[in-house]
């Protein structure tokens, strides 16, 4: 169900966006990604208003309950309801993923543009700077930031944002250089586009596939990093609901109550998978050479004869 060649009168953003979303939906990976992300957003919104139990309510009598009614996913060592904790943690996860993606995008595009489109000495120095920054692991950046401002979610957002922004710039810069030398960029300039207009209309859309894959990967890593950094104590404080903190709490009792650890771990896994597949779907949908393939054409292209497999 790709877009039929109708409508699209003028350039109405809302309609273009709907068409584009439909194209992402047409790709199986994109569909899965959209479902997962929508579910997480939904859960995060619901958790702000309602959770089955107060996620921070301690109830010593109900410690380590197995999944049962009314505690659907069981309880932890303090008798807190795990389902409520996971639901409350979804908001944190979402916030970290979106926040770090935003920072990574701005930083990555800015660095890549500086490194590709400016005069020679500026772009060469930026390229060297990017290479130096790539060498800094995210964990180190997180440690530096938290040493100055103390541990909080912002540390996670900024460190993952910076770390992946630099990575995105590293990958996008040569892509930009490549596209810059295409004839259609020259043709754009010949049509009277200023360099900035050319960047927005021709250059960035053409490097978007590379960029989007990196970005979805960055969002997925942000979820993992939030868990990891919170686990190490650089991220969310213990009072804040977070999958990382929850995982850290529960894993100490892994041998005794393995089922309890499963839930936050599963939530992280599904989210990461969903974000990655969404990225794949968006990349595929933003390439019009693939968009023309309808269901049948797609099947025929990806179909493997049974004899072969």
């Amino acid at each position: 169900m790709t877009l039929p060649p109708r409508g699209a009168r003028g350039r109405r953003p809302a309609r273009t966006r709907a068409r584009w979303l439909r194209r992402v939906w047409a790709v199986p990976t994109g569909r899965f990604g959209i479902c997962v992300v929508a579910a997480i957003i939904l859960i995060a919104v619901i958790a702000r208003i309602w959770t089955p139990f107060d996620p921070q309510q301690v109830n010593v009598q109900d410690r380590w309950l197995p999944p049962s009614w009314p505690h659907l996913l069981g309880t932890d060592g303090a008798g807190r309801d795990i389902l409520s904790l996971v639901m409350a943690g979804a908001g944190t996860t979402l916030w970290v993923a979106v926040g770090s993606a935003a920072i990574a995008t701005v930083l990555g595009v800015a660095l890549a543009s500086l490194g590709a489109l400016t005069t020679r000495w500026v772009r060469e120095s930026v390229a060297v700077l990017i290479d130096i920054l790539v060498a800094f692991p995210v964990l180190l950046v997180a440690m530096m930031i938290s040493a100055v401002w103390g541990g909080s979610l912002w540390v996670v957002i900024w460190s993952v944002g910076i770390g992946f922004g630099v990575n995105i710039a590293r990958v996008t810069r040569p892509e930009l250089r490549r596209v810059l030398h295409s004839d259609f960029v020259l043709a754009g300039t010949a049509a009277g586009l200023t360099p900035t207009q050319n960047l927005w209309r021709h250059l960035l859309p053409n490097v978007a596939p590379v960029f989007i894959v990196q970005l979805s990967w960055a969002m997925a890593v942000a979820v993992l990093a939030e868990a990891g950094l919170s686990y190490l104590g650089f991220g969310a404080p213990v009072t804040e609901p977070s999958w990382g903190v929850l995982l850290q709490d529960l894993q100490q009792y892994l041998t005794v109550y393995p089922l309890a650890v499963l839930w936050p771990g599963l939530a992280i896994t599904v989210t990461v998978l969903g974000l990655n597949l969404l990225g794949d779907g968006i990349r595929e949908a933003s390439d019009p050479t693939l968009a023309s393939a309808t269901g049948a054409a797609r099947t025929s292209r990806t179909h493997v004869p049974e004899v072969v497999s």
Partner: protein, 265 residues
């Protein structure tokens, strides 16, 4: 509006690739720039548009309607490009952005120079597509470049260059990447457009047979220098420079189709 190029010299790190080239394109005139590859004809075209690649040094003078445009500020050049001077590139496979619809690309210069939006812009784009004789202009503007044939893509590129009704069209080997029948169609189109619209044409090619079909005057370049210039029929009947004689010999290879150059010239 006339274009006068005087003593144009282009250097690449000390290498003179274009050396004192002078010619002029009168208002409504069709002039060919012809030479073998590496003779500096494409660079001359790029210099007129102010699109020289990084590291190229141009000197001399390019007068557009009496105004010096060589070394003009980038912003002033952007106002000129597309609006008064348009260019068509050699390879239609790479001259179009693969991920934008054809219509958006045709509409680009109109959007910038005439600030058309929405319905008006769309109507204009369809009209421009129809002007270059694209089949089903309503539908084709919604397509992507990869869904078009090579000849159609070159027509789109011409529509892009002509959308704002420039007074001068520079065509940089627009038919080289196309096969013979498509080439004839594109040449027909260019000839018709220059005749109807009172537009000047600077046609760059290495093929004298092609040139004979669109241009009245020609400038022959060799290694960055002008070796011969004059009326096309004269160049065809009594070529003086060795290069012109060579080009004429090569051109006869494409003339077996039965067209004699003097018919068109």
């Amino acid at each position: 509006m006339r274009l006068e190029v005087q003593e144009l010299t282009i250097e690449f790190g000390g290498d003179r690739v274009v050396d004192g080239v002078s010619f002029e394109v009168p208002d409504g005139g069709t002039v060919g720039l012809i030479g073998e590859s590496g003779s500096g004809k494409s660079l001359t075209a790029l210099a007129i548009m102010g699109l020289l690649p990084e590291g190229a040094q141009a000197s001399g003078s390019i007068l557009w309607h009496g105004r010096e445009i060589l070394g003009l500020h980038e912003r002033a050049l952007a106002a000129l490009r597309g609006d008064e001077i348009g260019i068509v590139f050699q390879d239609p496979r790479t001259a179009l952005n693969p991920i934008r619809t054809v219509g958006r690309q045709i509409g680009e210069s109109v959007q910038i120079h005439e600030r058309l939006r929405g319905r008006e812009l769309r109507a204009r784009v369809v009209a421009e597509a129809a002007r270059v004789a694209l089949p089903d202009p309503e539908g084709i503007v919604r397509r992507y470049p990869h869904q078009l044939s090579g000849g159609q893509r070159q027509r789109v590129a011409i529509a892009m260059a002509l959308a704002c009704r420039p007074r001068l069209l520079i065509a940089d080997e627009p038919t080289t990447a196309l096969d013979a029948t498509v080439q004839a169609g594109i040449l027909d189109l260019l000839r018709g457009l220059t005749a109807d619209e009172d537009m000047s044409l600077l046609f760059i090619t290495h093929d004298l047979a092609v040139l004979a079909q669109v241009a009245t005057h020609a400038v022959v370049l060799e290694r960055g220098r002008v070796v011969e210039a004059g009326q096309v029929p004269r160049l065809l009947s009594e070529p003086r420079a060795a290069v012109t004689q060579g080009l004429l010999r090569d051109a006869t290879a494409t003339l077996w189709r039965g067209q004699t150059p003097s018919e068109d010239a």
